[in-house]
């Protein structure tokens, strides 16, 4: 309540505050962001061009508006009965009517030229330095860096803001709703081509500063591109209604210097290689339990409860699936249960983590099945499908 009152008060004072912040440069940046009224040119050449076009059209509209509304308000003030005006009787004029058909037409042609050239640039997908496959899921993004040698780097990017912030139990962080667990990382000054698709429903990948918005449509692959010219963190959101958590599907792009990017990519690759190496390893039950717990806490606990007691999802403790046949348990974990809140985790978790978490579920919370799932079992299960 206190907060709200403070905001209302600020709202009333907003014009003053805005003026003041012009003068005191320190708070300016933050305050300006709160009161951002216009599109930003972003950090790409195409974005700047789009911004320019937007401003041209805006000013053309302002001028036309001043002329037409000027005429209207002039007659509202001058041509009123209370001033004793006798109404004129004219009701057509071919010349005038032709003029105001032709003049707007010419203005439109003037606008069409820059619009066309910019559009052609937006559509120029040739000669990219880097290709990234972006896949929309309900409600997260998957990024796949396409490598000619077939050594692709793949990861998911989830909303990081916690439920307590969303439900107003905690203070909201600076980047409330616009923060993810793993951002997309791009090298500066490189032409990046995005191949955009979706796994379930239509989403749209939108990062204003990179001047990209493209629908992600299941069964189709769309193209888009961007060449960010400045390093920095750029944020965006899903822009197509995609179900319950449509508002919770942020995009964060980290544009870095090229060597930083290369180091990041190498690190990702070596982590992937480590996991691959673990594929053939036989783990003990203790090892799997220890590895499975953090995975469970991160991915499963929100629905199944920290102690397996259930919640949105069914209880794991004593569950017929977790204490039944292993193949069925793997099936549910990897493929999800269509039409329910249980997602398909097969693509999100690697085989090592999947093996660990399934083992954990089968042995924690008093389930005590005693069996161990090995990464190779997960791999084989996926292959066998």
């Amino acid at each position: 309540m206190h907060l709200r009152a403070k905001r209302l008060y600020k709202l009333a004072l907003s014009p003053v505050l805005l003026l003041l912040s012009f003068l005191s440069t320190g708070a300016w940046a933050e305050e300006a962001q709160r009161w951002q009224m216009n599109m930003s040119p972003g950090v790409t050449e195409v974005g700047a061009e789009i911004y320019g076009l937007h401003m041209i059209v805006f000013w053309i509209c302002v001028v036309i508006g001043i002329v037409t509304f000027g005429a209207m308000f002039y007659s509202v003030f001058a041509h009123r009965k209370s001033k004793g005006v006798k109404p004129a009787t004219f009701h057509e004029s071919t010349a005038i009517e032709i003029a105001w058909t032709v003049v707007p037409f010419i203005i439109l042609i003037v606008m069409a030229f820059p619009a066309t050239t910019t559009l052609l640039k937006v559509y120029d997908f040739e000669d990219s330095d880097l290709d990234i496959l972006v896949t929309g899921y309900q409600w997260k993004w998957k990024y796949e860096y396409i490598d000619e040698a077939g050594d692709n780097v793949v990861f998911f990017s989830n909303l990081r803001t916690g439920k307590t912030e969303i439900y107003n139990e905690d203070d909201k962080g600076e980047h409330y709703l616009l923060e993810v667990d793993e951002p997309l990382v791009l090298p500066v000054n490189k032409k990046v081509r995005f191949l955009v698709t979706a796994n379930d429903v239509i989403h749209a990948w939108w990062v204003p500063a990179l001047a990209v918005k493209k629908d992600a449509i299941p069964g189709f692959i769309n193209e888009a591109w961007s060449r960010p010219l400045e390093t920095g963190v750029y944020r965006g959101q899903c822009a197509e209604l995609c179900g319950r958590d449509h508002g919770y599907m942020p995009i964060v792009v980290n544009v870095v210097e090229e060597d930083e990017y290369n180091a990041w990519l190498a690190d990702k690759k070596s982590k992937a290689a480590e996991i691959k190496a673990l594929m053939d390893k036989q783990f003990t039950l203790d090892e799997q339990m220890a590895a499975g717990k953090p995975v469970y806490d991160q991915y499963c606990a929100a629905c199944h409860g920290l102690n397996g007691e259930g919640g949105v999802g069914k209880a794991i403790a004593g569950s017929p699936i977790a204490t039944g046949e292993m193949a069925k348990h793997l099936d549910v974990s990897i493929n999800g249960v269509p039409g329910s809140a249980m997602q398909a985790f097969g693509a999100q978790l690697n085989d090592v983590d999947m093996a660990a978490v399934v083992t954990y579920q089968r042995n924690a919370f008093g389930n005590n099945m005693g069996d161990i799932v090995q990464p190779i079992d997960v791999y084989n299960f996926k292959q066998g499908q």
Binding site: V57, G65, H79, P87, I96, Y167, D200, I217, P218
Partner: protein
């Protein structure tokens, strides 16, 4: 009452009536009820968006609210309100005794209340109401929808049926029942715009019916029209939807153009400027509306040739629309204006609709639309055309013709207050949404990042003001009907022209048993 009143009384009068005035009245009250219901949904949306975080509703319910709000406003409030106006006015304006197909008229109205009752009842069903937006894009609305999608499909079919019957009736009436001497080029603008609208409706409602039928097949009978996994195409859905949907927005706005073209000359005491070019402009807009549908889909990944075609065609619409705006303003030019409530709403209309038209031109440019699309900029744009366009002109129409309908005058001060409060509330609601969209806030989200807070709060406050002003309107109208001051003169308005002003006040139950002669 005898031959001059309804044949039956009580409830059965309204159930069985075939009189155009009764049916018009029912349409108008029904649409107002829907306006209040759709408005209540909007208030829930705005209350949730008052500040960041979730405080009132869950995201799932929020999506049901946006869907029901859009559906109810478009199909329940705006469209039926203009059909009601057409029923009341077209026979009176063209000197006809009634609509051409009175029994069908009764049916096309009575389909609506049960349909919307059904749609509203989905809110209480398991799985909740439709939650996929009023544009119901597949596969969200097919593969991932709640079970109530089946009722939604049924409802859309019924609404379509009602609209088609209503339009056929209007076409038949205008074509066949004009008074002797009333050539097409002498018809009042309102009749013209409705004639063209009716043709649009007959052309596109079957397309919508086709879309929902294909959905029904996908949901229940295992086809894959819109599912890529089965060889179908989700983008096909959008093409079909917008082939209906774009003309639909002109179906909403053309009758509003008609209303404004009737009212401005009255209060400017000067004939409508450029009647002929108004007719041609209306027809061109209707024609163009069929070839621009894909401007709602610039981001789906069309080939560049398609993108360019739709961009150029869309930009063209600005020309006839501009002609209309310039003609209205020239009608005011050198008139002898007075500013009674209907005129205030019409001037508000011209001003705000033109602002919506400007953002329309901006949106038409494909490369820039990549940034505007599905952001709050679009929400601002379409409310400037739909609320300041359709709803403002409807308010103007009610104030303008109510004295003729019931023989009583509304309270002018209250009418003016209604105008000013809704004008301020409306702008406070929707103007900041332009900024939100440009700064990057997507539409249809229940919660937002912190930098969008202040403009959202402003927008919510404006929305509550706008909503409250409608209660004033309701009060004024009810008070007029029950106890307004009697108007005895035939013409309420000094400058009013047209056959509807030649009949007695209040308009008798049966007008024009002998057709008037038009010179």
């Amino acid at each position: 009452m005898g031959a001059h009143g309804p044949a039956t009384t009580g409830l059965m009068r309204w159930v069985t009536t075939t009189n155009h005035k009764d049916i018009g009245t029912m349409y108008l009250w029904f649409s107002f009820a829907m306006f209040i219901m759709g408005g209540a949904f909007a208030m829930i949306i705005r209350a949730e968006l008052f500040q960041p975080g979730l405080q009132i509703v869950e995201p799932e319910f929020f999506n049901q609210m946006t869907t029901m709000h859009g559906l109810v406003m478009v199909f329940g409030a705006i469209m039926p309100s203009f059909v009601g106006l057409a029923n009341w006015l077209i026979p009176m304006m063209i000197g006809a005794p009634d609509m051409a197909l009175p029994r069908m008229n009764n049916l096309s109205f009575w389909i609506l209340p049960p349909t919307f009752l059904l749609l509203a009842s989905t809110l209480f069903m398991e799985g909740g109401a439709p939650n996929f937006g009023w544009t119901f894009y597949a596969p969200l609305s097919t593969t991932y929808a709640p079970d109530t999608v089946t009722f939604f499909i049924f409802g859309v079919h019924l609404m379509g049926l009602s609209s088609i019957m209503g339009s056929i009736n209007i076409i038949a009436t205008v074509v066949n029942l004009r008074a002797p001497g009333m050539t097409y080029m002498k018809m009042p603008m309102f009749v013209w715009t409705w004639l063209i609208t009716a043709f649009l409706l007959v052309a596109v409602m079957p397309v919508l019916a086709g879309a929902v039928t294909m959905m029904l097949m996908d949901v229940h009978f295992g086809t894959s029209f819109f599912s890529a996994a089965g060889g179908g195409d989700p983008v096909l859905f959008q093409h079909i939807f917008w082939f209906f949907g774009h003309p639909e927005v002109y179906i909403i706005i053309l009758p509003a153009f008609g209303v404004v073209s009737q009212i401005i000359p009255t209060f400017a005491r000067k004939p409508l400027f450029g009647y002929d070019s108004m007719v041609y402009a209306t027809a061109s807009i209707a024609f163009l509306s069929f070839i621009v549908w894909a401007h709602h889909m610039y981001t789906v990944g069309m080939p560049i040739a398609g993108e360019l075609f739709f961009m150029y065609a869309t930009m063209l619409i600005a020309v006839p629309t501009g002609v209309k705006v310039f003609n209205w303003i020239t009608t005011m030019w050198q008139g002898a204006m007075t500013f009674e409530t209907p005129m205030l709403f019409c001037i508000g209309f011209v001003f705000l609709f033109t602002v919506g038209g400007f953002t329309g031109v901006m949106l038409s440019l494909a490369p820039v639309d990549f940034q505007y699309h599905d952001s709050y900029f679009v929400v601002a744009h379409f409310h400037y055309v739909m609320v300041a366009g359709a709803v403002f002109s409807m308010s103007a129409a009610v104030y303008y013709w109510l004295p003729k309908w019931c023989g009583r005058m509304y309270n002018e001060n209250m009418g003016k207050a209604h105008f000013w409060i809704s004008f301020i509330g409306f702008n406070l609601t929707f103007f900041p949404q332009h900024f939100l969209g440009l700064a990057g806030m997507p539409r249809r989200i229940p919660d937002y990042a912190l930098q969008f807070t202040d403009f959202n709060t402003m927008s919510s406050i404006g929305a509550f003001i706008y909503g409250a002003s409608q209660i004033l309107f309701l009060f004024n109208v009810v008070r007029t009907i029950t106890s307004g001051e009697k108007t005895s003169e035939e013409k309420t308005w000094e400058g009013a022209e047209g056959l509807e002003w030649t009949v007695a006040t209040p308009a008798p139950y049966h007008t024009f048993s002998t057709p008037p002669e038009v010179k």
